[in-house]
Symmetry: C3
């Protein structure tokens, strides 16, 4: 090694027994809980032939698998390749970015299947899962990936697993409050995924504040090829975001509409991001950080409303605004948060998820409040907002109010959750890196340097 390293001196980052123990114990717990609770649902059960007759279906194509599986796979790519590679922009933290994201997401989806299952798919003592549960588990983990963005490079894999355990739990609670108690619509998760995930992550990183982090300023940067790797993440997130926002919408027009609106919002967002990236820099040059991140804000910001009758031009307006807001955030807000509020937000999730998530919640509330039977059609109106049963008497403006309440709840849950989990992560037992070793893969990974032979 070209210079002496201090890991394990200032801090004990030795993972050999701790990490395996956590992974193995938790996985055993998953197996036990799955054994007790989880079974495949009727559409994935070999009794499906009989079920089909009961449901009066004439063809296998009516199986939900064919409505949602392609979208599921797109979402799956977003979580593992999209988020994973987006965070590889750091010059020396590519393994951690893509590898820890892989680890926490693989654990998180299992725990999310259970947590969300207990709340939403629990029947006769069993959680019955199908493709929609897989999508929802990916969604839930998406909020953890977002929070990971704030603390990227500053935590150990054990801390990430601990955070995932808690955050998935709180996600499920928050989601239950919004979807079931408040009866709020949030198919693409502006509130449940982005707002909650971002404020959770920002609170955690505030609590884990490291005073001398600027000594790693150099390592917080990118190199040419790490920026290209990150663009793989960006583009897959951007391309598949229409699948994300439409993945769990109602069959038919709602899925179709959500995809179109998201496509439009994202397209507009790219242009305003480029505009402001150039405008806010003295030399007028474009900054890869903005292109990699702010171009995605348009997808976040129609997460609630994309399945509503937002209209394509409405989507363009939302995308237009979010490209600007997000880019401005990267230039002015991130340094401000760091210097004044001691919020060290490695990936700038405040600009990509928190603010666009809030905007998304607000746009959703307004769009819901503005809904009319005329625009949606009589049946479409009821179907779009699920104004049935106990909610038969809800009016659009009341729905708008509840949507707004959903934003507030998500923000508060984010803060409260972060405030709860942050101190736990601060315990000196999880093997977090010393500040001088932040953003450095070789604390937790066997790294073969490009300029050295593989074996000494």
């Amino acid at each position: 090694m070209e210079r002496p390293r201090h890991q394990g001196m200032a801090k004990n980052t030795y993972m050999r027994w701790r990490l395996p123990l956590v992974c193995l114990l938790w996985e055993v717990a998953m197996i036990v809980l799955f054994g007790v609770f989880v079974r495949v649902g009727p559409e994935a059960d070999a009794h499906w032939e009989e079920e089909k007759q009961k449901m009066n279906l004439t063809s296998d194509i009516e199986n939900d698998f064919y409505f949602r599986y392609p979208s599921f796979q797109d979402v799956h790519v977003m979580i593992f390749v999209g988020f994973g590679f987006l965070m590889t922009f750091l010059k020396r933290y590519g393994f951690g970015a893509v590898g820890f994201n892989f680890l926490l997401a693989a654990f998180g989806i299992q725990w999310a299947l259970l947590m969300q299952g207990w709340f939403h798919s629990f029947k006769n003592g069993k959680i019955l899962i199908g493709v929609e549960n897989l999508i929802n588990a990916d969604f839930c983990v998406g909020s953890v990936c977002i929070a990971f963005g704030a603390i990227l490079g500053k935590t150990s894999p054990i801390q990430l697993l601990v955070m995932t355990l808690f955050q998935v739990t709180l996600f499920a609670v928050n989601e239950y409050i919004l979807l079931n108690l408040l009866h709020v619509k949030d198919a693409g998760g502006s509130m449940t995924i982005h707002t909650f995930g971002a404020y959770f992550g920002l609170t955690v990183t505030r609590i884990l504040y490291r005073p001398n982090l600027e000594q790693c300023k150099d390592k917080q940067g990118s190199v040419y090829h790490s920026d290209l790797f990150a663009m793989i993440g960006t583009l897959y997130l951007w391309i598949y975001w229409p699948s994300f926002n439409s993945a769990i919408s109602e069959h038919g027009d709602a899925q179709h509409r959500a995809a179109i609106n998201t496509y439009c919002s994202l397209a507009a967002c790219v242009l305003t991001t480029v505009a402001f990236s150039s405008m806010l820099q003295k030399k007028g040059k474009l900054d890869m950080v903005h292109i990699q991140n702010a171009t995605l804000a348009g997808g976040v910001a129609v997460g609630t409303s994309a399945e509503m009758m937002l209209t394509p031009y409405g989507s363009l307006i939302v995308g237009f605004i979010c490209g600007i807001v997000s880019t401005v955030g990267y230039v002015y807000l991130t340094p401000f948060l760091e210097s004044r509020l001691h919020i060290q937000d490695t990936c700038g999730i405040h600009n990509l998820h928190a603010i666009p998530g809030l905007i998304g919640g607000i746009v959703g509330a307004i769009t819901a409040a503005a809904a009319t039977e005329d625009v949606y059609g009589k049946e479409g109106f009821i179907k779009a907002f699920d104004f049935t049963g106990a909610y038969q008497t809800r009016t659009p403006s009341i729905q708008g109010g509840f949507q707004a309440a959903g934003i507030v709840v998500s923000v508060l849950m984010g803060f409260a959750g972060g405030a709860l989990v942050g101190p736990i992560l601060k315990l000196p037992v999880w093997g977090d890196p010393a500040t001088e070793n932040c953003f450095e893969d070789d604390v937790y990974w066997e790294v073969r340097r490009p300029d050295k032979p593989a074996s000494p």
Copy 2:
């Protein structure tokens, strides 16, 4: 910086006010035009429940979304990741390749939705869009990405946006002439996308000829990892090309057949590309440029005929020929075009899109002319060529003639369009780079060099 740079001396490449202005104004224009004209179509509208009854559909699965959305996403990947990364082969132009492609495509799809909408989906003063429009917009932008390949590294982002504005417009006109006036089949766009796009781009690059470009010879090359990034683009284009050629074919057998034929053609093309890449080099070694590009020619060349009864072996023959023609083009034709005709074709689109596009048009004309009721079945024959209404009396040989006319029109529109747009791009107001700064990201991008710390 290791050596003095002259950007901004020979040429003013300062983008700070010009680029933001263009992006913002045009995006505002999009919003206004979308506001006036664009709405979601019946299959994405909340009135779908009523529509379903009118159309006598029993299930949501009959929504076009489920027929085309997976193909749409594949095409979307091709445009943004495929074309974007294919062009990252240049050692110092990765940001420009993937970033400018992102920018022009994001603008282009919006403008294409409008232009194609006015021609094809205009009803009662509104453009009604659905998933098929999204695919067509991506297709249209594909032709711009192709043209971008010819001028890669030699233009400013504003020039690219200006080119996109015009090219999308002309694409829509050409497409209207072919599909509506000539009633030509071209589902995968051999003529409308590849032939038109390539001759447009070649004409533009001819007009933008730079006499001393050989001084950048070094920067026009690749490095090891930039070639691997480019292979990401190649492989996604290759893998998803069956989706591209089948994306807007008729439901059922036509989509199925188009995918199979394209798969076959592409497979054959790889083998002849490898054969000729080795054969045409003294040392017999393979050249990444050929593998990255010529392997795709087989997809281009069945763009018209893949949905016809080309047969799998017919597809193999087309792929076989195109792998050879394209590789030979890279070795002999590109240098010839550059030295004799002053056509500086950075990515060699002449070999990948122009010639294979022409071949594709011809193969389509022959396949159409050779069609019989016996091979297609009575109903299938009428459905395949849409010989209904005013076209009821068309015979295959007449159709073949019209197909051939479509090739000629596309070539001429490409030339004429390029001849119109080239001089506009040559105006000294768009901030194009000086010749010594071509193929260099740091003219328009904040670049952190791998061998330097991120911040000085």
Copy 3:
């Protein structure tokens, strides 16, 4: 060049006439054979309209294309991007990894369409192909990609084509024995693809043993960015594996269930891989080799049973075990195989495909043997194991026995096939590299070094 190279001295690696000859002749052979034998099947034929009426189908959505095309494209990505990039981990063999994989797979799918067609889709003298054939061809080629992993970096492209020719043939025979004669279930190919492919490849690499390969130890390693490229391969394989295992399962519940079970198994596998990667290393650091490979073992190991009623927790258990077994294999078994048995397994396919494949076969046999009408339902039971016609009287325990026989047959066919093909590949006419030039792209590729200008 920084040091003298000896290629072409010790061995003649000059490909100029040999490689083109093989590629062209074989492609011509494909064209002839396709011309004689291959046509599109009824669902891709223009007679489909009439066929639909015969089959009493009311909608085009019943075309198999819509049931399987999205899964097909996922599998296609796995073969070309997944396997291709997984093998780019070698610092100087990225072109060979991704390029030769491309070449052999492009040839292999054509030959597989024929071979599998003769065995399974041959009617009235013609092979009728549809989307399921395309998937099966990709599957077949998958087994060749696996074998390629064992000999990666040590063979010429001609050797690979020769191996592909034979291996595809033997694959089809083995598959026919298992699926038709033994009437075994193996939708995700634990036996037919992984076990067969791996033992075939291991036998071949044993026969091609190179005594002094440790002199290339340095080049057998990775560099930082080559490990990130490999992670692209890993993640796409991991993400799309549920599509792989469900792609050719029966419509409806079987596809749905196979995807869910695979998803679960893979998730569990990641955690135990991480656990053992850290545990087996003195410094407790994670090793990218394990993360890149062992995380996938869970997909391999449910290849037979995923479409059965394995249950989600059963899948977790399988994944749990395989992550451990595979990682332990990388640490202890690979060096042992190399030093004691002279099996030089570049990618460690023994740990990723051979052992998990065997486990997959065994899990499948047990799951089949344990099947009851109660768990599957009366109709589901018959459908799941195809206990119709001649197999009406099979009981689960008998089926379990046949499944076990399928494992043995696959292992033996792998050994026998490798023993047959290995010596053929050893003939001194195929242009394999000298040992000192192994794992080095510039034997077969034009390579521009990162530290040198593109042109001298």
